[in-house]
Subunit: 138 residues, 2 copies
DNA sequence: ACCCAGATTTAGACCTAGTCCAAATTCAGA
DNA sequence: TCTGAATTTGGACTAGGTCTAAATCTGGGT
């Protein structure tokens, strides 16, 4: 079902039931889940999956570049399966919803003079504000 | 010595020895300390200061807008006393050093079409790369 | 189809960062 | 100086995450 699983196999990943369900949970959702949320959802598909395995698997997916770790609030890290398209995040300051926003043309270009000699390899942008729901209703 | 303390007093802050040393630690350093680092340095000036007080005080400084909380790595939050000038961060992916970089003119303007109805109130940009030291030496 | 070495999973102990609480202390205005 | 409210304290507690050694699986070779 998922090209994610195919890519993983192509990279020589040993395919286990646990990894399958973790990948499946991430693949199906377009949200930004915490590790514990992934564990809970994976547990519905494979009841005996352990927390450690979920953490291991998420770490591997991140290392493989298939998933991105985002920390928008200093609390739990969230795992973003949308790693293949460059994008930034829009975070609601009230309900903490996160939306992906496609990267624009100018992003990531810091003027030479402001680089302090750093060799820049990436940029993360987090926009904060109120989402439509939180602007209107409660 | 510090205009920070003056601003705090003007805002009706009750001035205690503990708050004084926390403000002093932040004021003197241009680095991005964790709460525990602040606690350690404050403890050199006022040995009996408690961890809880350091956390309380940092929280108040953040609420007052005098200090900014940054989480560039999903580990401990860091406290940035440079809250008065808009700026972004340059983080070395190897040694984890953080440098402030002044905000540029175009920052924070997300095209209308990409806002998904959010009322944007702020933007944080984190550039990642290798600092000069890590590019050359080890 | 079966074996086996090495990869993977597991439970649970452990760790770090941070919060919370009720009691004790301290500040500052009258 | 007195006094009430604000602040501080230590220590228990929580969340999120890491680590370990033992048990279990996976898949290539035969």
């Amino acid at each position: 079902m998922s090209d994610l699983l195919e890519r993983l196999r192509d990279r020589g990943w040993r395919l286990t039931a646990q990894r399958r369900v973790v990948a499946e949970v991430l693949n199906g959702e377009h949200v930004h889940l915490t590790a514990d949320e992934v564990h809970a959802r994976a547990g519905r598909l494979l009841p005996e999956i352990s927390r450690a395995t979920v953490y291991n698997t998420l770490g591997e997916l991140v290392a493989l570049g298939e998933v991105i770790e985002v920390t928008t609030d200093g609390r739990a890290k969230r795992y973003d399966p949308n790693a293949r398209k460059a994008h930034h995040h829009l975070v609601c300051t009230r309900c903490l919803t996160i939306r992906d926003v496609p990267a624009g043309a100018g992003d990531g270009t810091l003027p030479e003079d402001d680089r302090f000699g750093f060799a820049i390899s990436g940029v993360e942008i987090t926009y904060r504000g109120l989402c439509p729901d939180c602007q209107s209703g409660a």
